[in-house]
Amino acid sequence: MNTTEIKIGGLGGQGVILSGMIIGRGACIFDDKYATLTQAFGPEARGSACSAQVVISDELIEYPYVEQPDILMVLSQEACTRFVPEMSPTGTLIYEGQLVKLPPSLPETLKRFAIPATRIAEELRRRMVVNIVMVGFFAAVTEVVDAAALRKSVEASVPPGTEELNLIAFERGLAYGQEALAGKTSESVVSRK
C-alpha cells in the first residue's frame, strides 16, 4: 500500500483547512487516489494554531489519522515548532520562508523547500491567497497529487468569483517550485546532502 501522510499547519484564518481540502479533493476527485481529510476542530481552528491532516493512498484508507507526516507544510512558526518533531526523518518540509525559521538540528535526510508565499500573494494584491500559492508550490515539489488535478481542485474549491485570482496564485506557486527544483531560486533551500 502506497500511502502518504500530509500535515498542514498554520494559524486559523490562513486557509490551512482549505489547503487540505484542495489537496484531498485533488487526489480523490481529480486524480485516481483515495484521500481522507481530518482537521483540528474547535477553538484552535478559529485563530490560534490550526492543522489539517490528509492521508492519500492507492488503496482504501483504513486509519484516517496522520501518525508521522511524510510531508509537512507550515505557514507559521508555531506550527513548524510544534509539528516538525512528528515528521518522518526522510520526509519533506515545505514552509513559508518569510514567516518560518527552521529549527536547528533537523535531520539531514529531511528535504526542505521554502517559498516566500506571502510576498507572492502580496504581489497579487491579495494576501489571503497565500495558502493557494503554497498549494501550487506543493504541487511542484512533491509528486503525491498530479498538478493538473490540483489545479482543477483549486478551481472547484475556492469561493465562486475568485477562481481566476486563485488559479494565478496557484500557477505562481507552481512556477516557483519548478524553479526551486531546477536550482534557480536563491530563497529555496533544497537539501541534497
Binding site: Y34, T36, L37, G42, P64
Partner: protein
Amino acid sequence: MLGDNDGILSGAHFLDGDHACAEGAIAAGCNFVAGYPITPSTEVVERLAWRFPGTGGTFIQMEDEIASSIAIQGAVWAGAKAMTVSSGPGISLMLEHIGLAAMTEVPCVFVNVQRGGPSTGLPTLPAQADMMQARWGSHGDYEVIALVPNSPQECFDLIIHAFNLSEQYRVPVLFMMDEVIGHMTEKVVVPPRDQIKITPRRYTKLPPGEYEPYRAGDDLVPDFAKAGDGHRFHITGLTHNEKGYPVMNAECQEQLVCRLVDKIRTNVEQISFFHEDGLEDADVVVITYGISSRVTMRAIREARKKGVKVGHLRLVVVWPFPEEYIRRLAKQIEAFVVPEINLGQVVLEVERCAAGTCDVISIQHAGGAVHKPRTIYDAIVEAVR
C-alpha cells in the same frame, strides 16, 4: 450548487460525514427537518438549511430539541419524510418523543453525531457512548433500529437505508454517527436518481370507513393514512386499540406493546446488516461499529502479518442486535475483542450472547479520541495467547 430536478447531486464529491448525511437525507426524499443545532452535528442542518430551498424541503430551527423531536412527527403525519439531528445533550432531551414515535409508529430518523459525555462533555471530540441510550433511552418496552456509519460515503448511503427501514417497519431509526465520522472528509459518490432505492410509505389502500390506523397485517406493521386525506384516525401515546383510541387495560397493553416489539424482534435477520472479514478460520473476532472499525482494520492488518488468525465483524445495524448470529459465532472461536469509545456498552450484549462459550475482551476508551491501533493489536495478540 445545483442538482437535477430532484435536487440530488449525482456525481463524485469531497464531503465530510455531516454534509454527506444531509445529502443522503435529500436523496432519501426527506423534505422536513426540525432541529436545534449542536456541535458536532451542526453542519448537517447548516447544509440542509442551505439546500432545502432548492429541493422543496423545509428546515425549521426550533426553540429547542424537545420541540424539534415532536415537530418532525407532526410533519410525518402530514405526509412529510422527516428527521431531526442532534448530539448527546440534545438527544437526551428528545428521548420522550423517541418513545412517542415508537408507540405511535411514526417513521422518522434521529441523527446523533456522538460526542463525549455525560452532560455537555466534549462538544468537539468523539465518543460512542450513546449506544445504550439509543436502545433504552425512552421509558417502557419498545424496539428501535440503530445504524452506525464508518465513513462519509456510508453517511450518505446508510441515511437512505435508515429512512427506508423507518418506512418499512414504522419505527424511529437512530443514526449513530460520531464526531470523527461527521467531520472527516472523503470522496462521496452520489448515484443517479434511478439507482437510489427508496422504500415508499405504506399508505393504506382501504377506503375511509374500513381503515383502522393500528390494524396490522401479518408483518405486524400497520398501513399509514395521511392526516387530511379523508381517513378517520386518532393518535395517542396512551395504550391504544386498532382504531387508535385509548384502552387502558392489561389485554390491550399486551397486544400493542408485544406487537411493537415483535415487529422488530421477529425480523432481526432481515434487518441485520454487518460486514464480515476473515471469519472462516478465525481464532479471535473483533466486533466493531463506526469509527472504531477503521482503527481495527489497521490493527488486524498488523496482527495478520504476525500470523494471528483474526477476523473482523463490523456491525452496521447495532440495534436490533444480531443475537443468534453472535451465539453461533461464539462457539467457533476462542475470543471476541470489542473496542468501543465508551466504558463497555455493546460488549455487554456480546457477553450475553457468548454466555461463557468464548472469552469476551472489552477494549474501552472514555472518549475524546479514537483508540490507538496498537491498543487493539495488543488485545488481539493477547486474546490468542
